[in-house]
């Protein structure tokens, strides 16, 4: 291969590594909060553009003895990671302005994206675990970023303990898989003896449990609301977008390649496990979100519910469902990051924490309120917004598979209807206020340019992705089929 081609194909991660080095040097020479934020945002934007180009043109390059293979799938995930992290960095300006140090946050965001990028590209379970931990460790630091705040510390401790336990479970699962198959590579071809097939099953179940903590599937979700609530807003946005998609990236990476062989050799029907997890997760998340009064907590529970919908894509296990899952993750990350950024803006500008505080905010900040409305409607599943399209296709995929899998679609539709209630409550509060309260006098309109850039980006993408879903799904489908074709 032409060395320049190879360099180009490694450039998304190369840009991030370079940015990290520049950040270190910059912090050493002169501490400047704005500059470090701009450097990381620029690097993430560049990575995002490069990944978009490379994902759409279907390139493949292997790195470090084929331990990491960057193909369309990895680049596709790279787009999601770098785009969401870019949104985080753009919206973090006022938070970092108040923080003591800004350089570490930018660095951790870059390193987290770097780790996540490698998660999506690893072909080896041990390497996957190590880079997964790298990305997770970066988020520990981000959650604990407000060092003086007790809530932040509590959130970080809870998150760290759960993260450490899940890391232990994952590594135990990997070791059992290694014992059963004699190999740690993620490959579609492996063999087991008749006795060790059950060992393989136990290992795979442990992997599902371990990664289930990261994506907050139902029985493993308990850390999520407290952590999301206690963490500073940029960290919450990062957790809800980059970190959650990374958990799915690991699962997709493993089950897309190894899934059929696990079913054939181990006899483990992992699709049913994902299906059950999916129904439980979406139902629980929606029911819990119904009774929340805090906006941040409501969004946290709704992100649990969204994990449930996305798990359908894993449960079906067809190449179409994987492609839809990829599309779903992109739309979810943007809509979720956007709503958290608007919530951050409202909290810092209007001191709005609970859902009741959102009364009449549309009069004070009309553009942000409109964006939040669009994004919440998108999450609820209102056509033609992007998450609706994703949900529609994923339910369509389950109907297409048929049999009992239609239950997933029915559960999903019922849950979407349920979720509309709590999203609509926020929108109602913003536009027509609380019952029996007169509207406040028309005050000065408050929109901050630092927040408006990421908010409007999310708004535009939420609408545009919904309208132009065909291209994205085509790229996603291409990514999935190339991976299942070029596995080793």
């Amino acid at each position: 291969m032409n060395p320049y081609t190879e360099l180009l194909r490694l450039s998304p991660v190369g840009v991030l590594v370079l940015a990290q080095i520049i950040l270190f040097v910059q912090d050493l020479v002169r501490e400047d909060k704005r500059l470090s934020q701009y450097i990381s945002a620029a690097a993430l934007a560049l990575t995002c553009l490069l990944s978009v180009y490379l994902a759409s043109s279907g390139n493949t390059v292997s790195f470090a003895n084929s331990t990491f293979v960057f193909n369309s799938l990895a680049y596709y995930f790279g787009v999601i990671f770098s785009l969401s992290a870019l949104l985080v960095m753009l919206s973090a300006g006022s938070f970092l302005g108040r923080a003591e140090y800004a350089f570490e946050f930018s660095s951790l965001a870059i390193l987290g994206v770097l780790g996540s990028f490698f998660v999506a590209s690893s072909t080896n379970l041990v390497a996957l675990f190590v880079v997964f931990e790298m990305a997770t460790t970066a988020t520990y630091g981000m959650v604990a970023y407000a060092r003086r705040s007790k809530l932040s510390a509590e959130a970080a401790i809870k998150y760290f303990v759960v993260g450490a336990v899940s890391a232990g479970i994952i590594i135990y699962g990997i070791s059992l898989i290694y014992i059963a198959t004699g190999s740690v590579s993620i490959s579609s071809v492996f063999s087991v003896t008749s006795q060790s097939s059950q060992l393989l099953d136990v290992g795979v179940i442990l992997l599902i449990v371990g990664f289930g903590f990261k994506i907050a599937a139902f029985p493993f979700h308990m850390w999520l609301p407290d952590t999301y609530e206690g963490a500073p807003y940029p960290a919450t946005t990062y957790l809800a977008s980059v970190s959650k998609v990374m958990g799915f990236a690991a699962l997709v990476r493993i089950f897309l390649v190894m899934g059929p062989a696990i079913y054939a050799l181990g006899g483990l029907n992992w699709e049913v496990i994902f299906g059950l997890l999916s129904i439980l997760t979406m139902t629980f998340g929606n029911l819990a979100a119904l009774v929340q009064t805090s906006m941040k907590r409501m969004l946290a529970y709704s992100s649990i519910a969204m994990s449930g919908y996305m798990l359908i894509g894993l449960a079906l296990g067809t190449s179409f469902s994987y492609a839809v899952l990829l599309y779903f993750m992109l739309t979810y990350a943007i809509a979720k990051a956007g709503s958290f950024i608007v919530a951050q803006f409202f909290e810092s500008e209007h001191n709005a924490k609970s859902i009741d505080d959102y009364a009449w905010l549309a009069r004070k900040s009309p553009l942000s309120a409109f964006s939040l409305t669009i994004m919440l409607l998108s999450l609820a599943g209102i056509p033609p917004l992007s998450v609706f399209v994703a949900k529609f296709f994923i339910f369509y995929a389950s109907v297409q598979v048929g049999g009992y899998w239609i239950l997933l679609a029915i559960a999903g539709v019922l849950n979407s209807a349920l979720s509309l209630y709590y999203y609509a409550r926020v929108i109602k509060n913003m536009y027509i206020g609380l019952a029996g309260e007169s509207p406040p006098p028309q005050g000065p309109r408050l929109e901050r340019i630092g927040y408006m850039i990421p908010i409007l980006t999310c708004l535009v993408l939420t609408i545009a992705l919904g309208l132009g879903e065909g291209t994205v799904i085509a790229v996603a489908k291409h990514a999935v089929t190339t991976l299942s074709a070029t596995v080793f």
Binding site: Q20, F63, A64, N65, S66, T67, F68, E100, Y101, E104, S107, L108, L111, G112, L114, G115, F118, S122, N124, V126, A127, V130, V131, E133, M134, T137, A138, Y140, G141, A144, Y145, R147, L176, I179, A180, G182, T193, Q195, S196, S197, Q198, L199, D201, V202
Partner: protein, 168 residues
């Protein structure tokens, strides 16, 4: 039964009992002491399985270095036992017990037949480096990234306040 098997049973028994001791012990420093005993037991089990290298790494890193960090944390935070006495037969402990028994039987049912595969003859120690630097070179790079991240996060959390440094 061979002499080495009896020894292995003894070592395994000590390891399990001290692992139980970690959970059951009321005083947290005692728990740490039992944990060290358990880790040393694992090291002994490694050495009995013809893998002295692994045994010594276990001793150097876990029983030696990691446990010292644990002990620093434990001894610096609180010396006396928690005021509320933990009950041995609580619901939490019961769920741990059930989970571990289920896991044990799942692994045992499939794994017990495989002892011949598991206890394979290990290669020479000198084979570790070549495989580490060629076959698993990507994992090594990943570890470098992990260490940078961990260092950055940890240093940030313990870093002095920004204005604190100027006054001092």
């Amino acid at each position: 039964m061979a002499y080495s098997e009896i020894l292995f049973m003894f070592v395994a028994g000590v390891t399990i009992i001290s692992a139980l001791g970690v959970v059951v012990s009321k005083e947290i420093v005692r728990s740490a002491a039992y944990l060290i005993l358990a880790l040393v037991g694992v090291a002994a089990a490694f050495s009995l399985m013809d893998s002295l290298f692994m045994a010594m790494i276990q001793l150097l890193i876990y029983a030696g270095a990691v446990m010292v960090l644990f002990l620093f944390g434990v001894m610096l935070t609180r010396k006396e036992a928690p005021a509320k006495r933990r009950r041995l037969l609580s619901r939490t402990n019961l769920s741990y017990l059930i989970l571990s028994v289920v896991l044990f039987f799942l692994v045992a049912r499939s794994g017990l037949m495989d002892t011949s595969v598991l206890g394979g003859i290990p290669g020479p120690v000198s084979a570790i480096a070549p495989s580490l630097y060629t076959e698993f070179k990507g994992v090594l790079y990943a570890l470098a990234g992990l260490l940078v991240t961990v260092g950055l996060g940890a240093i940030y959390i313990v870093k002095k306040e920004a204005n604190e440094g100027k006054n001092a």
